[in-house]
């Protein structure tokens, strides 16, 4: 240990405990990447994004504000429900119906002086790459796999090997009952959320025919009401799983069906649980997992201690059901990961006067894979598909159009598949000749 000196940035008395750790090296600090003199100030200038202002999100905002981050953004499209109040501690009864991101941001700003929290009451999909590019770190407290995959793909795709700032570490937490996990994703360096999809058990589904003809469990009756009876009877135009009237309809349908088959156990609460796929959640577990995530955020931002991600462990599993058990391990990258396994390669020297046919033919000469029957798409635009026949016929006229006529621009990403390469898809970034 070279020094015991503390290097505060502002309000040294207030941040004394934090500065002792983040601005001074310890026995495990890597001296090559740590510079205690610049840490506090650097962290004050960082912009950090929190996704989700729910159970984990409330904790994340509190923890980051008390970890020395000053410029925090938070995205959440949801409004506050009464069932949030048993754990989302930034909300009160009177806040029910207001936007979570808004209320959470105001509360933490009020409580922790000097921190700026910018709320976005919308979906993560409403923002593009330019928005996400402004942050140095992204911390997620989400309950849906779909949203996790979306932000993961966004951050991985943003990586430009030439631009240091394009690498955004993603820290992700999740809980269920007394269990949870925290993981760090360094895009294209560690395994990503897509590589780790097998860690999410798919929701157990019951065959439709069991629901239709041989129900045995209360859940079968509820799913029947939800999947089959609702469609047949359409009691309301659209099913709103948060509308008690809709849930009551499903509950009564389920109850009726359960009586018909002498199946015990259908309750309102079970109906709600099955239909909304409710996952039990408590403050204590959120506290553990969100803090584990923010502990990594602090270490990544300051380098004051080794963090999850590289080169070893990147995943911590936590279980509190039977004593306490953690398992911290390295989840390996998957070479064939559709998100991080195939980063777009630059496709240089493309003449914008080329026809699509010229481009398609050029793949046969590519060194990495001589593609004889390539199918080519850009996002939102099917350029040419060799199969199925109807799509081939529909896209064939494109072959004689020039790239410009097809609306392709410099830097555009295209996906190329070929039946000869069953397990891989190729992504290329067009680079036009100037």
């Amino acid at each position: 240990m070279a020094t015991t000196e503390v290097h505060p940035a502002s309000e040294p008395a207030r941040w004394a405990y934090l500065d002792r750790i983040r601005t001074r090296p310890g026995p495990f600090t890597n001296p090559d990447s740590f510079d205690g003199k610049v840490v506090a100030e650097a962290m004050e200038n960082m912009k950090i994004l929190v996704i989700g202002a729910g159970g984990l999100g409330c904790e994340l905002l509190k923890n980051l504000a008390l970890s020395g981050f000053k410029d925090i953004h938070v995205i959440d499209m949801d409004t506050i429900d009464i069932s949030n109040l048993n754990r989302q501690f930034l909300f009160r009864q009177t806040d029910v119906g207001s936007f979570k991101a808004e209320v959470a941001a105001r509360f933490v700003e009020r409580r922790v002086k000097g921190v700026k929290i910018t709320p976005h009451n919308c979906k993560i999909q409403d923002f593009d790459e330019d928005f996400y590019m402004q942050f140095q770190l992204v911390v997620c407290g989400l309950d849906s796999i779909e949203a996790r995959r979306w932000i993961n793909a966004m951050l991985v795709n943003m990586v430009d090997e030439e631009v240091e700032d394009s690498y955004k570490p993603l820290i992700d937490g999740g809980t269920e009952g007394f269990k949870g996990q925290a993981r760090v994703i360094l895009p294209t360096v560690t395994s990503c959320i897509e590589c780790q999809l097998d860690m999410h058990a798919p929701r157990a589904a019951v065959p439709l025919c069991t629901l239709a003809s041989i129900p045995r469990q209360p859940e079968h009756c509820i799913e029947w009401a939800h999947v089959i009876a609702w469609d047949q009877e359409k009691p309301f135009p659209d099913l709103d799983k948060d509308d008690p009237e809709h849930i009551t309809w499903l509950y009564q349908k389920s109850l009726h069906r359960a009586r018909e088959f002498n199946i015990p156990g259908v309750t309102y609460s079970l109906t709600q649980g099955v239909v909304k796929n409710i996952i039990p959640a408590i403050a204590a577990t959120n506290s553990v997992i969100a803090a584990a995530c923010c502990n990594e955020a602090l270490k990544i931002a300051s380098n004051c201690a080794p963090f999850l991600g590289y080169p070893d462990n990147n995943y911590m599993m936590y279980s509190g059901n039977d004593s306490i058990y953690t398992y911290t391990f390295r989840h390996e990258r998957k070479d064939d990961c559709p998100v991080c396994g195939t980063l777009a390669r630059p496709l240089p020297d493309i003449d914008q006067a080329w026809t699509l046919r010229d481009l398609v033919d050029s793949f046969a000469a590519r060194p990495e894979a001589q593609l004889k029957k390539p199918s080519v798409r850009a996002e939102g635009k099917t350029l040419y598909m060799q199969s199925p026949p109807s799509l081939e016929a529909q896209t064939r006229p494109n072959l004689d159009k020039t790239l410009v006529e097809l609306g392709l621009v410099d830097g555009q990403e295209i996906g190329v598949t070929d039946p000869a390469f069953a397990t891989v898809v190729f992504k290329y970034r067009l680079k036009f000749k100037s």
């Binding site: 995959r149 999947v227 990544i300 380098n303 590289y310 850009a378 996002e379 598909m385 199925p388």
Partner: protein
Amino acid sequence: MLKIWSMKKEQQKDENSAEGNGAAAPKKKKVTAAQLRAQKDLSELSLGTTMSTEFPDPDNILSFVLYVEPDEGMYKGGRFSFTFNITPSFPHEPPKVQCREKIYHPNIDLEGKVCLNILREDWKPVLDLNAVIVGLQFLFLEPNASDPLNKEAAEDLRNNREGFKRNVKIAMGGGSVRGESYKRVLI
């Protein structure tokens, strides 16, 4: 801030990766994982002579119609169509498949819901669109009476196979079976 960039460079040195130079270009409009996977599945689709596809919007490959014209079995001579809707969660979640015509079939209900294990409880991301299509084809060759969605049709198949075959013909011809009227689907 961590040196993720230098770590990456180090990793690349180790893997002694090729490629990569030129100025940073603006990168817009990324191809999503679900779309890439659907593209791959479609370019490997083997439809045979009894099936064909229709894409209402060729630029949206996540939504299309599959036509099935069985050339053997009890549904021979009919023409059925299924809508395929692939969600952004594909292939983590199965495609959503629904029959557009009202059909008299033990495993397809009158709303067009299909009881096929790989479309629900047995779906795995390693399965592809070909597997789904093979499964649909199989339903026309071997309607299964033991686990029905349409209980009446299943009872007929179980108790009176010849009667069931007759009912299939009537339904496909646009007649009524057990009080339900069907549209003509014969080609």
